[in-house]
């Protein structure tokens, strides 16, 4: 077995992820062979996750939309260079994160919020119940305020810290995957994560209960 394949196997630890990576690689092979329409499958599969990463880093839905589209275009243009050393998902995330980081660095002084609506569904209903006992309009106002404070606190973090905490806590990636995406060690990822959580605890203390 090739050394890069061994490395890839080590990074993609769970069997589900491995199956997903294999399926993606098969589609990528089709695109590399000239089947351009096959790339649409990858877009449909990953557009929400890519948009989510970019949105959580920028806190602006218009910018997130543009940057997510740019990420897919870059991935499409560079698809022939993808050799399968890592999963397509990790590769696409890396492109998205790098595109977003360069955008944030260019527009460091120009940042404003344009937030999406907070959807209440089964996954977050419990948390929302824990957070507030208010009803009706008060509850909506409270949630809106909470959303703004949360995004403000995230935007106060430095770009690397924000990226780490977004990828780990919101997108649910592992330390090794984040390390590979960001091009740093797992220790650095853990350290940044720890610092970012401490900072957010200080900023959002009003909404926390211990």
């Amino acid at each position: 077995m090739n050394l890069s394949k061994v490395f890839t196997k080590a990074i993609i630890s769970s069997p589900e992820r491995q199956q997903e990576a294999d399926a993606d690689f098969a589609v990528v092979k089709q695109v590399q062979a000239g089947d351009v329409a096959a790339f649409d499958k990858l877009i449909l599969k990953y557009r929400e996750r890519v948009f989510g990463v970019v949105y959580n880093l920028t806190a602006n839905r218009e910018d997130a939309s543009d940057l997510a589209q740019d990420s897919f275009i870059k991935a499409f243009q560079s698809i022939n260079r993808f050799q399968g050393h890592c999963s397509f998902f990790t590769w696409l995330y890396r492109i998205s994160v790098n595109t977003t980081l360069s955008h944030l660095r260019k527009n460091r002084l120009r940042s404003f919020f344009s937030l999406e609506k907070l959807h209440e569904d089964g996954t977050n209903a419990e948390v929302l119940e824990q957070l507030t006992d208010k009803r009706g309009a008060d509850r909506d106002t409270y949630l809106h305020e909470l959303k703004e404070k949360l995004n403000e606190a995230l935007q106060k973090l430095s770009i690397p810290h924000r990226t780490v905490i977004t990828l780990f806590e919101i997108d649910g990636l592992s330390h090794s995957e984040i390390a590979e995406i960001m091009g740093c060690s797992e220790g650095t990822v853990r350290s940044r994560l720890h610092y970012a959580k401490q900072f957010l605890q200080g900023e959002l203390g009003k909404y926390l209960r211990s």
Partner: protein, 279 residues
Amino acid sequence: MPELDQRPKVTVEDLLRLKRAERPVPEFWSNFERELRQKQLTALLEKRPWWQEIPQFLARRAYLPVGATAILAFTLVSVKYYAPAQLAQVQVENLPAGSPVTVDRGVTAPVASVSSPLVNRSESVQSATEAAVVVSSVPVSSEASSVVVELMPLLLAPRAAETPSARLLAANLTRLEQSEGDFGQNVLNARLSAPAREQAVASAAEELASVPTNSTRRNRLLAQYGGRQLNPEPAPPAVVRERLARRLGATETSDRSNRLAREIDTFSTPMPQIVALRF
């Protein structure tokens, strides 16, 4: 507030998980897809600049041909420019260790200057003049002289028609050939038989040994060639005469201009300040 205290705790992780609920509405994705399609088509149609093609070109395993071509070109250039210099150096280095001859620095320099453009031209011209006659203050052995004799055509031939000094050297050699035909012929051809070469070298060595040690290069040259002038220059009296004539001419011109100025002053009304200054 007892009610608040009874509620379960909320951590940062819980708050951050709320961010997952910030999702766009379904209509957003249709717009997203349409825009993405347009961008994709634009990306397919637009011609990428040439510098973005370089990494792809290199990725197509062009390393080997490009590297081989570069090495080949470098080798050819090196051989073309530096091979003659190395040849001459080898000849000089092949001298025996105890050889009494000291070869001038200028012996190798003109050889390099003939072929290499990297060498300073003015320096090489000067060293070519100096190297025309390789003279040493110490006695010359037959072997060393043969080296010098072999090197001389190599030094003089390529630059014979290039610089005035080289033309002068060539003229001197021709004159030498006319006056001392055998020796000159031997020097130029360097194809003497062994006994004849030894004889010629011995006579040259005697002649060189007779030159005083503390004399200048010019004196040594004059002594070597029996007081004949190899470099025809204007005689000193002629030069002096010419300079005197030039100076006299200059004095006459200045006198005329002074006289003219004085005449002009007499016609014009001089200002008091100027008069005061003049006196």
